[in-house]
C-alpha cells in the first residue's frame, strides 16, 4: 500500500518498534485516542461481522476456525538456515491437512488480520492525513482479490472510505486496489544469505530511502494491532507471517509455501531491473551492468552471496541471462567470477561437440593463467558461439566476453592467492564513467562506504 502524502506512518511504527518512549509523541497520542474514540468503531463490526455473515449464508461449513491445523513450532534454535518450510522456529503456520480440503478459506475468515490491514491503512492515512490509499496486490491470489474487493466495498458502505472514482469528500479517503507486478522470490537470495548469517532479512526501505511496500504493510498491521492491543504489543514477538499477499489477509494456504506449486498466475517481473534499481542506480553506471550467466549457473557454485550483497561495499552488477542478476562488489575479481562460471560450464558440457568440449576445457586452462591470452580467448569465443551444437556451448563464453568488454580494469589486476576482497584495497569510483567522475566532485576515499 502507498500513502500519497509525505509524512508516513512508518515513522510512528518505527519509533514504536524501536522501543522508544513514545508517550509524548503526538501521533501516538492520536493513535491511542483513536482506539477509544468512536471514529473507527464501525470498522470492526463492518469488517468482522457483516462480511463474515454474508459469506456464511452461502457456505456455513467454510467458516470453521482453523485452530486444529495450527501448531506451535519450537522456538529454541534461532533461524536455522534451510530448515523445513513450516519449521521456522517461533512462528505460527497453518498446516493444511487432508481432512480440510480448503484450509485457506477457513483461515481467511477466522483470522482478524484481514480486517487489520484495511483498518491499519485507514488509521495510517488518518494519521498522516493522506487523501488516497493504494493497495497493491499480486495476481497470484485471486481469492485475496475477491475478499479485498468485498471488504473495500464494505468499508465504503460504512462511510469510512470511498473506493475511487469520486471526488474525495472530507474524511472520506479514496481506496485503490491495484495490480502489483511482483516477484514473490525477489528477496529470496538476500533472505537466504541473511539466514545463513543468522539474521532475519527484512527490507525496510528502498534505494530512495522510502519504506518499501511490504514495510508499509507491516506498519499498517502494526498500527491496527496497536490500536486494539495497546502499545505493549510491539515488544512481544508477533506471529510471523507466511508469504506475500497470502498473509495480508491471513490466508494460510498450504500451497503458497516457497518452492511449491502455487495456485493462480505467476508474474515474473524484470527482476534484474528492480535489483539494479535497488542496489546500484546511484553507485553503478549502466556500463557496469554485465549479463554474464544464466540463473542456474549463478546459483551453483561458490558465489560470494552474502558478501556481495552486503551494503558495505559498493555494489556492481554482473551476470544474468533471464531475470537473474548477481550483484557483486567492486572488490570482487571479475576474472575469478568468470573463471568460476567457466568451470561450471566445463563441468556441464556434455562432450558431444568439439568446440564446447575442448573449448570450455581450454578456456578454463587459459583463464587459470595469471594473464589471459586475450586474442586467443576472443577467437575461442567466436568459434564456440558459432560452431557449438547447443546453447550451452554457444553461451558458455559470454562471461569472458563481458569481462573483456566491461571489466577491462580487472584484467590488469594481479591475481591474488587469497580472498579477493581482503588483499586488494577498493578502488572507489573505478566503475564510474568519466563524465560522472568529473561532475561528482571529490571522490570518496578508497575503502570508504
Amino acid at each position: 500500500m502507498r500513502c500519497t502524502s509525505t509524512p508516513r506512518v512508518d515513522s510512528v511504527a518505527a519509533a514504536v518498534a524501536a522501543g522508544r518512549d513514545t508517550s509524548d509523541d503526538p501521533r501516538i497520542c492520536r493513535l491511542r485516542r483513536l482506539s477509544r474514540g468512536r471514529r473507527l468503531s464501525p470498522a470492526r463490526s463492518v469488517l468482522g461481522g457483516r462480511a463474515q455473515a454474508r459469506r456464511a449464508d452461502r457456505d456455513p461449513r467454510a467458516f470453521r476456525p482453523a485452530r486444529a491445523r495450527r501448531r506451535r513450532v519450537s522456538d529454541r534454535p534461532q533461524m536455522a538456515p534451510r530448515c523445513g518450510r513450516s519449521q521456522r522456529p517461533g512462528c505460527w503456520r497453518s498446516m493444511p491437512t487432508r481432512a480440510s480440503p480448503a484450509p485457506s478459506r477457513t483461515a481467511i475468515f477466522s483470522k482478524p488480520t484481514r480486517t487489520a490491514l484495511l483498518e491499519g491503512m485507514l488509521i495510517a492515512a488518518w494519521v498522516v492525513e493522506a487523501a488516497e490509499v493504494y493497495i497493491y496486490l499480486r495476481d497470484e491470489y485471486p481469492q485475496c482479490r475477491a475478499i479485498l474487493e468485498s471488504e473495500i466495498a464494505a468499508v465504503e458502505a460504512a462511510g469510512l472510505a470511498r473506493a475511487c472514482a469520486h471526488p474525495p469528500a472530507p474524511r472520506r479517503r479514496r481506496l485503490y486496489l491495484r495490480r502489483r507486478i511482483g516477484d514473490a522470490r525477489k528477496h529470496r537470495g538476500q533472505a537466504r544469505a541473511a539466514a545463513a548469517a543468522g539474521r532475519r532479512f527484512r527490507r525496510r526501505s528502498d534505494c530512495f530511502g522510502r519504506p518499501t511496500l511490504m514495510q508499509q504493510r507491516r506498519d499498517a498491521l502494526l498500527g491496527a494491532r496497536h490500536r486494539r492491543e495497546g502499545p505493549g504489543l510491539v515488544h512481544r514477538p508477533g506471529p510471523q507471517r507466511a508469504q506475500g499477499a497470502a498473509h495480508l489477509l491471513g490466508i494460510g494456504t498450504g500451497a503458497r509455501s516457497r518452492g511449491q506449486a502455487r495456485p493462480g498466475r505467476h508474474h515474473r517481473a524484470p527482476a534484474d531491473r528492480r535489483v539494479l534499481r535497488r542496489h546500484g542506480r546511484r553507485a553503478m553506471p549502466s556500463r557496469a551492468i554485465c549479463r554474464a550467466a544464466p540463473r542456474a549457473a549463478s546459483c551453483r557454485r561458490r558465489w560470494p552471496t552474502s558478501r556481495s550483497i552486503s551494503a558495505r561495499s559498493k555494489p556492481r552488477a554482473a551476470s544474468s541471462a533471464r531475470r537473474a542478476v548477481v550483484v557483486l562488489s567492486d572488490k570482487d575479481d571479475m576474472k575469478a567470477v568468470a573463471l568460476n562460471l567457466l568451470r561450471f560450464f566445463e563441468d556441464e558440457s556434455c562432450g558431444q561437440c568439439t568446440p564446447c568440449r575442448a573449448g570450455t576445457e581450454k578456456a578454463v586452462k587459459l583463464m587459470t593463467a595469471p594473464h589471459w591470452d586475450e586474442p586467443l580467448l576472443e577467437e575461442l569465443t567466436q568459434v564456440m558461439s558459432d560452431a557449438s551444437i547447443c546453447g550451452l556451448g554457444q553461451a558458455a563464453m559470454n562471461p569472458v566476453k563481458q569481462v573483456l568488454k566491461h571489466f577491462r580494469e580487472d584484467l590488469a589486476r594481479h591475481p591474488r592467492p587469497h580472498h579477493p576482497s581482503k588483499s586488494i584495497p577498493a578502488k572507489a569510483g573505478i566503475h564510474s564513467s568519466p563524465t560522472r567522475r568529473r561532475t561528482n566532485g571529490p571522490r570518496p576515499a578508497p575503502g570508504g562506504r
Binding site: G351, C353, A358
Partner: protein, 296 residues
C-alpha cells in the same frame, strides 16, 4: 529449427519427397536429391569440406559432432554442420566464407592441441593430420590435455586414446555398422572417452575383433597392433642410432619388420609402393583384415 522453418518443411514435404531441392551453394544454383546433405552436394560439386566424424561410406550415419565441416547459411545465427544439415529450397550456403573457414581452422587447432606431436604421432598420415595439412594448421596455441595411458591388451588392435578426438565414429562402426555394440561413449565433457563394454580393457571385452573401428578411426587412436609394434621397433632402432625424433610411421617398413606376426593378412600391405593412393585414405593404412579371424 523455429516454427516458421518447420512449417515450410511441412508444407513442402510431398514436394521434397519427389523433386530435387534447389538451393545456392557458393553462389551457384545446385540441386540436391531428397535426403541429401549439404556435404554430399558439395562433394558432388567438387567443393571440399573438411570432415572427421563423417565417413562417406555405406552404413555410416552422419553425427555432426566434430564441427569440422561447418558452413555458413545465410540468415542463420550460427554456422551449420554440413554433414548432417539437409538443404531446403532457396537456402543460400557459403562453404568458404571467412567465418566458416575460421571456425573450421580453430576446431582443428583445438583437436590437434590434444594430439601427440606429429613427429611422434601414432599415425601421422591419419585423416586428421591430412586435413590439418590442408587447412595449414600445424600446431596449437592451446594448453594440452592430460593424455590417457594406452591400452595394449588386445592382440590385434592397439588403443591409444591420447589421439582420440571423441568423434564417435568407432562407436557407430561397432554399434550401427557391425552391430556388435561393444564400444560406447562414457563420461561427460572433456572426460568423455570411448569404452569397451564396461570400461574393460579391449582384450578382456566382448570385442570380436572385426576391425571396423580401426578402419573408421580418423586419428590413429585405434590401430592395428602389428603396425604399432612395428613402429615401436622402428622407433627403438632409430633411438639406438642416436636420433631423438623420428617419424614413427613410414610408408615402407623395413623388410625385417614387414611380415612378423601376420599370417592371415590379405590385401595390400601397408604402404606398398607403386599403388596410387586416393587423395584422402579412409582408414589409417587401408589395411584389410583377414576375413576369417578379422585380424591383421
Amino acid at each position: 529449427m523455429g516454427p516458421g522453418l518447420r512449417r515450410v518443411a511441412d508444407d513442402q514435404w510431398d514436394l521434397r519427397m519427389t523433386e530435387p531441392i534447389r538451393f545456392t551453394l557458393d553462389g551457384a544454383e545446385v540441386e540436391a536429391a531428397p535426403g541429401e546433405t549439404i556435404w554430399q552436394v558439395a562433394d558432388r560439386q567438387g567443393v571440399e569440406i573438411p570432415h572427421l566424424c563423417w565417413l562417406p561410406k555405406p552404413g555410416y550415419r552422419a553425427d555432426g559432432n566434430c564441427r569440422a565441416c561447418m558452413v555458413e547459411i545465410e540468415g542463420e545465427r550460427v554456422l551449420a554442420a554440413s554433414c548432417v544439415r539437409q538443404p531446403i529450397p532457396g537456402m543460400k550456403v557459403q562453404t568458404a566464407s571467412e567465418r566458416a573457414k575460421f571456425s573450421r581452422k580453430l576446431v582443428f587447432e583445438l583437436l590437434i592441441g590434444d594430439q601427440p606431436d606429429r613427429a611422434v604421432a601414432h599415425d601421422p598420415n591419419s585423416r586428421l593430420w591430412q586435413w590439418a595439412d590442408r587447412l595449414e594448421v600445424s600446431d596449437s596455441r592451446f594448453p594440452r590435455h592430460a593424455a590417457p595411458a594406452p591400452d595394449r591388451s588386445h592382440p590385434a588392435m592397439a588403443v591409444q586414446l591420447d589421439a582420440c578426438i571423441q568423434c564417435n565414429l568407432c562407436v557407430r562402426a561397432c554399434r550401427e555398422v557391425q552391430v556388435n555394440d561393444v564400444i560406447g561413449m562414457a563420461a561427460r565433457g572433456h572426460h568423455e572417452k570411448i569404452v569397451f563394454d564396461f570400461d574393460d580393457p579391449m582384450g578382456n571385452s566382448t570385442c570380436v575383433a572385426c576391425g571396423e573401428c580401426v578402419q573408421a578411426c580418423p586419428t590413429g587412436a585405434l590401430m592395428p597392433a602389428t603396425l604399432v609394434d612395428a613402429q615401436w621397433r622402428l622407433h627403438q632402432r632409430a633411438r639406438a642410432r642416436g636420433r631423438q625424433r623420428v617419424p614413427l610411421l613410414r610408408r615402407r617398413l623395413p623388410a625385417d619388420l614387414q611380415d612378423q606376426g601376420r599370417p592371415h593378412r590379405r590385401g595390400r600391405r601397408p604402404g606398398r609402393a607403386g599403388q596410387s593412393q586416393p587423395a584422402l585414405r579412409q582408414g589409417p593404412l587401408r589395411l584389410r583384415l583377414c576375413r576369417i579371424t578379422r585380424t591383421g
